[in-house]
Symmetry: none
Subunit: 402 residues, 2 copies
């Protein structure tokens, strides 16, 4: 396992087989104490249950036992990158996902529209969760900001969120957040955590000063908080290390961001599954590898809505035959991490995985759920092992050694 | 898994949840060929069986497949320290466990009182297993030893065992043992395995020469063997890396030694379970983490006494409800290593583990034994993963990455 990251390059072998990786965000769960059954236990999943019998199953650890991942590291691991070694700032992920022109040397950060009072104290860190359309209009206003020697690009994300990219000489990303995380106090002053980041603090301070002027009089979003400074990540590209032409079909920008960072093409789409399926069908012929992301299951888990997560899992199940109609040589359905509804958060628990291919062991499991997958033929694996299994079952990895 | 040791520091998050880790020494076993059942299979364990249904189970590898650990590395691994990287000399462990004044720069070693004949050949490496009280008296005699420029401290351990600490300039610990491991030959001369340890050889030789004089005429313990030279270990402290105020409740000195080396408070106690429980109850409110050690199961395994080990496991089981009465957020019962009675020794076999917490998957296993635990939701893990799981279930680890 240890050296797989370094040997992939040698082993990737050109083929025309196709791999479809469906990542159901927050897939894994925990039992509802009343029923003793997890979300997957509870859901009716005839198609996934059939795969658990005809395919290979296992459980994957995103970061290893005990460690709860954010979405960035959880996806990097699934794509085969050591998530402890390759760390991407959240601002950088957002900028990439929003399609901002973002290149080596640039620094990105996340913006939250917020509400401040007359003394400049934060009253609402999310400006009453303004609608996405309002956020878009405010970003257009912020586009008027000018900083000498710096190009500034801004793009709206969902609701009160946005991202900014600064381009210019001498920008590094070791800068603290202005978001104080609580209300009733002014935003934190930005601080360079290393000497080389002093210029970024200057630039971001100029940006915040002008943003305050531009947004004066807006209600409720009369200021921005800035956080998650990050440079453009330099990661090995999937085309080179795996020999795969890869596409990401993900409605939510951040997931396109991480996919783009590892060299996948991305396509803008809605995050509804039928929309994502439509895009997948249209582009399928062009690619060797498609990653398709299902967001809403995670949101239901984070809301603590067990019943809603069950419903959404049942919806995913209904899409499985439509995915299989495309006849990928390798079909994998798994999650980036668990999001048990009873915890209302991401968790460290290992995530169910099912893999269907002509070369998969038919595990004959009675269903697709945590308790069954742990008895599957793939056992318990680090998430970083998934890509090697995908390539192997696609017959895209050469024999190692004579 | 690989980098978890280095990221813990960043992720440990303060909470007031409590963790109780019960380590049943030599817990794992092997089937008695006559019954086909292991010690755990054979024992009546109603309380542990209930936990195997309501909690999460797995099997842990102390050092990885095939490697049999001593108690030191086995415990370091359980406490989350890479046992291959952090090695503590046995003498160092003993010295710490005995409460000797032992600091950075000092070198400790273990002493065995032994019997030598007129020609100085070892006749009994354990001096007929003299009683602990006799050992204590002989240590008082050895306290008369004087070595110029060196402070010598000596403390008795159980029976024929003792430990010595040398303090002075230029002491290193790469010194071979004098214990020849067999009888009928003289003790081995001490040898410096590296240049820097020559001074320690000089000092220890002076000690042995004087010990021979001091003990002349004693019967049967007329000499000492010296072994396990070790410097004071410098290890990351649990308070810093995990944010835990930790206590060790362990009757046997060596286990207090390793606990002390990783920064736990220790308390002197008898090694009977009811005594340890009494101490645990008294001190529970003060600590975030308590490690409680059960010694006798290992001794029964090493004696090859299958029936006795079964009895002792049943006794441990009876204590489980009393442990749970303290209402730890996380309760873990496992072993440092296996000690199969049929092998009469420590072994490499993976060790059963059960974890109870509100965030544990309910595995629904039919019982607590090797054969059941391997089907548990934690799968097979390195022992070094246990602390991360404990912290995670106590909600003491932050999410990693955005």
């Amino acid at each position: 396992m240890i050296s797989s990251e370094y040997t992939r390059e040698l082993l990737a072998e050109g083929r025309d087989t196709k791999i479809l990786l469906v990542v159901v965000d927050g897939l894994g769960g925990l039992p509802d104490p009343r029923s003793g059954k997890s979300e997957l236990d509870t859901a009716r999943l005839p198609n996934l249950d059939a795969l658990a019998a005809s395919g290979s199953c296992g459980l994957i650890w995103p970061l290893g036992p005990g460690f709860t991942p954010g979405s960035g590291p959880a996806h990097l691991a699934l794509f085969g990158y050591d998530p402890w070694k390759h760390q991407i700032g959240r601002g950088a992920l957002s900028a990439m996902g929003l399609g901002l022109d973002f290149r080596a040397g640039d620094v990105a950060a996340r913006l939250n529209f917020c509400t401040v009072d007359d003394q400049g104290r934060v009253r609402d860190r999310r400006a009453g969760r303004i609608p996405t359309e309002k956020g878009r209009q405010l970003c257009e206003k912020l586009a008027a900001i000018r900083i000498p020697g710096i190009e500034v690009s801004i793009a709206p994300e969902m609701e009160y969120r946005a991202a900014v990219v600064f381009r210019g000489e001498g920008l590094e990303d070791e800068v603290s957040d202005s978001d104080p995380q609580v209300t009733g106090v002014p935003p934190h002053p930005l601080e360079a955590r290393r000497q080389g980041s002093a210029r970024t603090v200057e630039v971001a301070d100029a940006f915040l000063t002008q943003a305050r002027q531009v947004l004066r009089g807006e209600e409720p979003a009369n200021m921005v908080l800035i956080r998650g400074f990050g440079r453009y990540p330099v990661l090995p590209q999937m085309g080179e290390i795996y020999g795969l032409k890869a596409l990401a079909v993900a409605g939510y920008p951040m997931y396109r961001g991480v996919a783009s960072a590892v060299g996948m093409d991305t396509v803008e789409t809605d995050w509804h599954l039928d929309q994502e399926l439509a895009v997948l069908r249209t582009r399928w012929a062009e690619y060797d590898f498609v990653y398709l992301h299902v967001k809403k299951t995670d949101s239901a888990g984070e809301d603590g809505d067990f019943a809603r997560k069950v419903e959404l899992l049942e919806e995913v199940d209904q899409f499985v035959p439509r995915f299989l109609e495309l006849k990928p040589e390798v079909f994998i359905l798994t999650g980036d991490h668990s999001t048990p509804s009873v915890m209302r958060s991401h968790s460290w628990h290992p995530v169910p995985l099912v893999l269907q291919s002509p070369w998969a062991m038919a595990d004959g499991l009675p269903g697709f759920a945590e308790r069954h997958c742990r008895a599957g033929s793939l056992g318990m694996l680090p998430s970083t092992a998934v890509m090697a299994l995908a390539l192997a079952h696609a017959r895209r990895l050469e024999k190692f050694g004579a």
